[in-house]
Amino acid sequence: VSHADEAGRAADRVARESYGRLVAFLAVRTRDVAGAEDALSEAFAEALRIWPVDGVPENPDAWLLTVARRRQTDALRRRHTQRAGEEHLTRMADELEAAAREGEIIPDRRLALMFACAHPAIERGMRAPLILQTILRLTAEEIAAAFLIPPATMGKRLVRAKMRTRVAGIPFRIPEQEELPERLQAVLDAIYAAYSKGWNEVGEAGVPEIADEAIWLGRLIVSLMPEEPEAKGMLALMLYAEARRAARRDATGAYVPLEEQDATLWDESQIALAESLLREASRAGPTGRHQLEAAIQSAHTARRLTGRSNWPVVVQLYDHLLALTGSPVVVLNRAVALAEVEGPEAALAAIEPLVADTRMLTYQPYWAAKGHLLARTGADADAAEAYRVAIGLTSDEAVRAYLRGKLASLHQG
């Protein structure tokens, strides 16, 4: 085995395992994400020059960090004029050198970095992409594919968001206790948004990886904040969904809705893990949104044991969720569950208030659910109209085919 091969493999391994930790460590000190990424990529480039000749250092992380820190200090020095207060610069360099001597123990600052990325002063839609890029080193192209945004646009928006953390003075730290619930929610929302992209857009290339990475981030958050029930709730929620991935398509690739899925295809080990996380979360304290959503998933998976989803419990959980969020999406999902308990007429009455909600006009699940409910009441003409709107709003080919099938069965029946 040549030094070059070994060096390349070592660099790959560090890049995969430590990238987020190294960026976080560098960025938290300077509050400059882009600068930290630049310094680290220069350090990787230097590693690929030096390691093949001198061999891989004993502690590659520490080696990279030392080089990156030197680059950071150089960059700072270049940016600062003589007016710049050499004192500040010296203090910074001292701090960096001291950290270098600590060697192998690199403090984990990824949580602080995630809180900065999910700060309310960052555009909501950019929080998840920013976390995916800074912690996981996903490229703008990979993130763009998941978020259905042109890569060049995604790249520009990422650059802007990173600049904003520095210029606006967004703090890199775990918020104070009083702010924590709201801020943590933003971090969890961002990770869940990433997961949802990987879950919903199953047809898009490269997207399932985003779901995997989101689960990885969820595990990271749970390990870094083991006391936070909502973090566990969110990880459980993702695992319940993930457990059903194989059952979402039949052998021909056609879409299979939850209630028609073959429960034997569900991944028992992921469900078991989700259940235990959810139990721990509900013991730990106040029940938040992600825990309730996970509990709803848990009630759905009861079908693998009893043959039937526990619909009355699902409706009750949605009642709590609705009281907590007031969200029209929850009104809709609750109504779908209500249909299984009290029938489609009751469900249609429950979604009546949504008619006036303009957000529902372009919300595909609203029209699909409305189509299903109307079809069950025998209002075929109205159901057909709702299905057609739903088809028009669907971007996933398999889901579109499923809805076309529903529409066709109306005309025959």
Binding site: R79, R83, A84, G85, H88, A121, A168, I170
Partner: protein, 118 residues
């Protein structure tokens, strides 16, 4: 970091507020600012937008208009500075400022002499 806090008031809402309580609250806020040592004495309260005049020059011609720059419901009403470690602290002061209940406070980092970033 040094932030300018730009106060924008809904002037109608402000006029409808109980004045005595409002300005007592403002007095307390200013005192808290100076006690904390983050405030700057250079803050100003401005006359309402009805007192504003807007000047523009285009193609060598000067245009003078009575009224504020933008005809919006919330009008620029004054400003103060805070020098704090980060945006969260600036947001905390904006939340404490009585004006945030009668409009909005825009937080803008000041350009700083290079290297003076704290």
């Amino acid at each position: 970091m040094r932030y300018m806090m730009l106060i924008h008031h809904d002037e109608a809402a402000l006029a409808a507020a109980p004045q005595k309580e409002l300005w007592a609250e403002y007095g307390a806020f200013n005192e808290a600012l100076s006690k904390a040592g983050v405030g700057m004495a250079s803050g100003e309260r401005l006359q309402p937008s009805s007192a504003a005049t807007t000047v523009r020059q285009a193609n060598g011609k000067t245009e003078v208009l009575d009224g504020p720059y933008a005809d919006t419901k919330e009008q620029f009403a004054g400003y103060f500075f805070v020098t704090v470690p980060d945006l969260d602290e600036a947001i905390a002061w904006a939340k404490r400022c009585p004006s945030s209940k009668y409009g909005a406070i825009e937080i803008r980092p000041a350009f700083e002499a290079q290297g003076n970033r704290k």
